[in-house]
Amino acid sequence: MGLPPYATLGQRIWYYSFRVICGLIFFFLVAPIVVVMPLSFNAQDFFTFTPEMLRLDPEGYSLKHYRDFFTNPQWQLALKNSLIIAPLATIISVSLGTLAAIGLSQSHVPFKGTIMAILISPMIVPLIISATGMFFFYAQLGNWMEATLGLDKGFVGYVKVVLAHAVLGIPFVIITVTATLVGFDRSLTRAAANMGAGPVTTFFRVQMPLILPGVISGGLFAFITSFDEVVVVLFVGSASQKTLPWQMFIGLREQISPTILAVATILVVISIALLTTVELLRRRSERLRGMSPG
């Protein structure tokens, strides 16, 4: 949609002002995220650019907020909890979700619509409502596990948060894996069976490698859901299950400390890495299924 050579002055003005408007909107989208990054290297405890920073004086920059993040026990506990909870929740949602997605993609599934609605519901229901419901039910569940099964209080706390996060990640796994299975050629499994492979061998040697990109990107969605989740963990967890977003939330609500900006920068870098991975996987999946990349 380049500008034709015969365009009138009005058209030229509109063409360029439209580009400027779009540029401003893109600026609005990206600026807040970009601004956080240099500010995290601030040598002062301010949330704005100091004169030293604007002069690009090395004195104005420092890594002290990053040092604080890696040495402060509160932040380290939060990081450790996030790294325990998110992978466990992801494993549960990916393993159960992939199996169910394969079941759902078969040709004759009774009550398919109802089942799909139930499995997708954790994504539809607003988090605050899921959190409220889980708050009531998981407290009883936790008491039961402690009293009847005699489990340790801290362990039960982790179980509750992992279960809650796993169920929140399931819709993403279901959606991505069923989307991948739409293009899956069923005759491949029949061919494998013809050549004497059992259902388990067929699954791991034929079907799994082909749907793996979808499974991984579903897993990444589930991981980021858990890693980024704060409402449910606030309601279901206790202080010893404090995750990274929880710690950030406390910091933002009470007294905002510049360490948050360092954490934010690290998280942005992680999300760029994840975004790249998902995009590469999508292209690979399309190439494998014989569609053109794009």
């Binding site: 601004v35 956080v36 169910a100 079941g103 519901s121 607003p126 899921s130 999300s271």
Partner: protein
């Protein structure tokens, strides 16, 4: 007649096919079943428990079972306080509840309906012991044996027939009151003959024995019962006919009866504790809210309340929730419109640029989409603060004086800006996918037929992009009305949503019934919107990234 077709193994083909189909269905269900059960237990049941909480009201009947029963006959509109029976039932109910430290919970519950009940219950729970002491002391003075737990146990423990119904009833009562099991060994069974002769005392002693044994793990045979049992004995002895009684400690009981122990007038005693008990208001509140299920929380959620005279509005100063619902909807609409206004040009640009450039620009849209919500919210806090980046730039440029920096955070403006930014990708992506399908030749055709740029856009392009706007709008609106984190951080007091109120009732005011009712209303709204979304767009068309 045509011969039935046979499969290779000789069974009719029809049956063979049906069997294969059934096996296939079972296999599919078998693969789905683990996840379905997992989601049902970890998600659907919790949501159902929230729905149940919003109407559940067993606490009144569990804490004051006899009072609720006695109050059923009382006419609240007569303007007189209830009869002595009700006060007596209240005394025994409240005594047990106070021992179990459960009366304050009921006080808090009823305080949602009638301010002041909470402190009334707390005070009365403390003062209740004094009523019983008035009879317990003279009784123990009469004969030292009454101080001995074994005397009481000897009298009331079953010698021949045990009244097992009474024991089960009291077990249930204690279990409902404390919310824990009361099924352990008690080492006591009420005597059936005494249960007829001294009904109040046997009941009070059984309740005490069950509580002592199952909740405190002590042996009732060796311990002195609490004051309420002595009060019950004094009440029973006023009317009981002991002439035919030959059981254990008959002489002790006869001696106590002839001594004519002082019996507290319950109505008067309650009035002495607090004069509110003599009025009808507290009793009306208890009676109105004594049903097991209540619509009270839902009425509270829409600023109304259940009163003895029917449904009425809350007092003016307590009416905040309807305003909050209105504000939630209004601000979500504003956010949706801001998203349409900002998202439409971007989607149009992306759809009309060559693929390579569009993909590059799409990354700028996806980056915020993938960035942590907390990161984006903290970024806006940094940007919008009075000492923040935007104000600094404005001061530096000279648009704003250093003294009067703009207040852009902790108000509605802050919430709307931050949430528009957070939800904008959810608007752009559906719009983009719809606009990609509109052939650019349509616009050129319109122009070559003489339409101006504006007419071509408005009459030809825009109507075809409406499905994208619809899909994006519903999605953004649904996400917006349930938001909690961002309004909590940048919204201050004026920019918060109904979800912040739910969180407040869960974690601060502990009015869980109201939180559940608010959540149920919000859930219903969201489900209706999703139903509309499914009709217009189809849930299957939800795409990620």
């Amino acid at each position: 007649m045509a011969e039935t077709m046979l499969a290779a193994d000789g069974t009719p083909l029809k049956r063979s096919l049906a069997r294969a189909l059934r096996r296939q269905k079972l296999r599919a269900l078998g693969l789905i079943a683990p996840l379905l059960i997992f989601v049902l237990i970890t998600f659907i049941v919790p949501i159902a428990s929230m729905l149940f909480r919003s109407v559940e009201n067993q606490i009144v009947g569990d804490t004051l079972p006899m009072t609720v029963e006695a109050l059923a006959d009382w006419d609240p509109n007569a303007g007189t306080p209830p009869s002595e029976d009700v006060y007596e039932a209240m005394y025994f109910d409240m005594f047990l509840a106070a021992e179990a430290k459960r009366h304050t919970r009921l006080g808090t519950r009823l305080n949602y309906e009638q301010t002041g009940v909470s402190s009334l219950f707390r005070q009365s729970g403390r003062a209740l012991d004094d009523i019983g002491k008035e009879t317990q002391k003279p009784l123990e003075k009469l004969d030292g044996a009454w101080k001995d737990g074994e005397t009481w146990h000897g009298i009331f423990n079953a010698t021949n027939d045990a009244d097992t119904d009474l024991l089960d009833q009291q077990r249930k009562r204690v279990a409902a009151l404390t919310g824990s099991s009361a099924s352990g060994e008690v080492n006591f069974a009420p005597d059936a003959a005494l249960s007829n002769l001294l009904p109040r005392t046997t009941r009070a002693y059984t309740a005490w024995a069950v509580y002592t044994a199952t909740q405190q793990g002590r042996d009732p045979a060796t311990r002195d019962p609490w004051e309420a049992v002595a009060t019950a004995l004094a009440l029973d002895l006023k009317t009981a006919d002991l002439s035919g009684y030959t059981g254990p400690a008959a002489d002790l009981l006869t001696e106590a009866q002839t001594a004519d122990l002082p019996v507290p007038a319950m109505a008067g005693a309650f009035e002495d504790m607090d004069e509110d008990w003599a009025g009808a208001t507290v009793w009306k509140t208890i009676q109105t809210h004594s049903s097991t299920y209540t619509s009270g929380y839902f009425l509270n959620a829409v600023d109304a309340q259940k009163t003895p005279d029917g449904v009425a509005w809350q007092p003016e100063e307590k009416q905040i929730l309807l305003t909050l619902f209105g504000r939630t909807i209004w601000m979500s609409l504003l956010i949706t419109f801001s998203c349409i206004a900002l998202g439409y040009p971007i989607a149009w640009l992306l759809a009309n640029l060559p693929m390579r450039q569009a993909n590059l620009l799409l990354i700028l849209v996806l980056l915020p989409f993938w960035t942590s919500l907390l990161v984006r919210t903290s970024a806006w806090k940094v940007m919008l603060q009075q000492q923040g980046v935007i104000n600094d730039v404005l001061v530096w440029v000279g648009l704003v004086g250093d003294g009067d920096r703009l207040i852009m955070i902790n108000n509605q403006f802050g919430t709307i800006v931050a949430m528009t930014h957070i939800l904008l990708p959810f608007m752009i992506l559906p719009m983009y996918s719809v606009m990609q399908t509109i052939p650019p030749s349509y616009l050129r055709a319109a122009k070559s037929l003489g339409a101006t740029n504006w007419t071509a856009f408005w009459r030809v392009y825009f109507p075809q992009s409406v499905p994208g706007i619809g899909a994006g709008s519903i999605l953004v609106f649904i996400l917006a009305i349930g938001y909690y984190i961002t309004p909590e951080i940048v919204g201050g007091t004026k920019g918060v949503f109904i979800s912040n109120r739910i969180a407040y009732h869960i974690s601060s005011s502990l009015n869980w019934g109201l939180a559940a009712a608010l959540g149920t209303i919000l859930l219903a709204a969201v489900l209706v919107l999703y139903w509309a979304y499914d009709k217009i767009v189809g849930i299957d068309n939800v795409k990620l990234g």
